[in-house]
Amino acid sequence: MYILEGEGVSKYFGGLAAVDNVDFHVDQGEVVGLIGPNGAGKTTLFNLISATYTPKPGIIRFKDKNITGKKPYQICRMGIARTFQMVKIFANLPVVENVRVGAFFGKSTHVSSANATRESLELLEYVGLSQVANTPARDLTLANQKRLEVARALATKPELLLLDELMAGLNQTEVAEEMQLISSIRTKGITIVMIEHVMKAIMSVCDRIIVLHHGKKIAEGTPQEITHSEKVIEVYLGE
């Protein structure tokens, strides 16, 4: 059983096919990388999975259940959490409140206020933000805002985590820290799909990589296979 599976997933903006008839699957416990040049449709595919858009045509299944046409909050409560390429934090709320939103609303079960706070503080500790728990989220550095998004997503107790360019705009040290964080999340048993441009990160963390180009899937395989695929080198990695 795949944890996530897409069949003929497509999304058109006017006449332009942002995602064009893509079949994909993600195994339980895997880390899958999603790469491709700018405008290849990576974020659009994330938006389709997390129900910002509805695929048309196409079907997306999560744990063998058809989730096409569900609302974003339903998708989240079913166990798919995400972060955003351009950070979307609750800027004027304190950091801990940001995570509490996830802890309160992200699960289908009822959570008491005390438990939500406890879980949030634990998660902030986990991602290394407990020092700034009461600071307004807007005052954090970009790297920390991205970590906050991860903490908020984790607060919803996901089985599948979608990370959209977690490392873009971060420096070397920060990238190394994020890679560690991803490996650590993985050991919790959470499946991860990540969009990334930092090749070093992708190659070392991912079990499998899917390459998109002009909305189409052009290659799929282990990092070794991808680095040696002629088609990928041609469109993406450069000669």
Binding site: P72, I89, V101, F104, F105
Partner: protein, 341 residues
């Protein structure tokens, strides 16, 4: 003397707003003293008709009404970030509830029941309208809500002309003190509602929508439901205030009841007071109404002119409203002390 009474009562109203803000921020120091003052403040407000002249208590009633409209506007628009101009629509529905059930020939229902009906009718309309339109964002939502006011006004106008053959309706005369106490009751209710919503899980959901709706949706919040329910709650208080206001003006027609001023004034008052704290809209509405009233009676020739200048100055120099200004001044005064603590 009467001016002093008015100012003291305005301060009392602002104090109750400040008290609630204090409870929310969990600074519970001196809570015995502050609660004591709150009791005193409430006692002062509740006994107003005993020591104030008729005019004073009517003015305070008007101030209460604008506070209700402004706070309930902030309850929805301030927290979720959706600019609603539908206040006049809900207010007008309340007014017409009174016009229907409290004619001069005698009340068909007890006044408080009519107030309740005004509120509920507004809530129901808000639920319907909200479910249809709260997917609109930004300026589109603002324009739609404004259109709603004009639409209901014209529809009612047409109905009165062609079906009931009348221009307006007379509403039963009600004792001023009764109106005052009803307004005060609604004021207390709206403040309590604000407090409980802000403190609750639901309030957290609302604020996260105001901060970033997309992120809120992807974090498991049913954004449409939260927005529609809040819209309906805020409409309830607007309708209730309208219903009791109708007994004060005693004659209503569609143009009076659905005057777009009631949509714009709460927005201006909220901006004037500052929306960051709960006492902001209270302060804004109270001072704004008082200024309006004073300018209108004492300097009626330059009333609009001076008011305009005042507004422009307020927007230019107080971007965070009165509360922002006060905090700035307070920080400057107490700044030296705080550095060392």
């Amino acid at each position: 003397m009467q001016t002093l009474i008015i100012i003291i009562n305005i301060l009392c109203l602002i104090y109750s707003g400040w008290f609630i803000e204090r409870l929310l921020t969990k600074e519970r120091k001196n809570s015995l003293i502050t609660s004591g003052i709150l009791l005193l403040v409430l006692a002062l407000l509740a006994t107003l008709p005993l020591y104030a002249l008729g005019y004073t208590s009517i003015l305070i009633t008007t101030i209460l009404m604008y506070i209700i409209l402004t706070v309930s506007w902030v309850l929805f628009s301030g927290l979720t970030g959706y600019m609603s101009l539908a206040t006049a629509a809900f207010f007008g529905i309340g007014i017409y509830a009174s016009a229907l059930f409290l004619p001069t020939t005698g009340a068909l229902l007890p006044i408080l029941v009519v107030v309740l009906i005004g509120g509920l009718a507004s809530s129901i309309i808000a639920l319907g309208v909200g479910a249809l339109t709260l997917r609109l964002r930004g300026i589109y939502f603002a324009i739609f809500t404004f259109g709603l006011v004009v639409f209901i006004m014209e529809l009612l106008n047409w109905w009165e002309h062609t079906v009931s053959h009348r221009r307006g309706r007379y509403v039963m005369l009600v004792d001023n003190d009764y109106i005052f106490y009803t307004m005060l009751g609604i004021f207390v209710l709206v403040m309590l509602t604000f407090f409980f919503i802000r403190r609750s899980k639901f309030g957290l959901a609302m604020r996260s929508i105001g901060e970033n709706e997309e992120a809120a949706a992807h974090t498991g919040i049913n954004v449409t439901m939260v927005k529609v329910i809040t819209f309906a709650i805020s409409a309830f208080f607007m309708g209730a205030a309208g219903a009791i206001y109708a007994t004060k003006i005693t004659y209503v027609d569609p143009y009076v009841a659905f005057s777009v001023l009631f949509s714009f004034l709460p927005v201006l008052m909220a901006i004037f007071g500052g929306m960051g704290r709960i006492y902001g809209p209270v302060m804004g509405a109270a001072i704004f109404t008082y200024l309006q009233e004073t300018l209108q009676t004492k300097f009626s020739e330059i009333y609009m002119l001076s008011f305009g200048v005042l507004l422009v100055a307020a927007i230019l120099y107080m971007p965070d409203g009165l509360t922002g200004l006060i905090q700035k001044v307070w920080r400057r005064i107490s700044g030296g002390k705080r550095v060392h603590t």
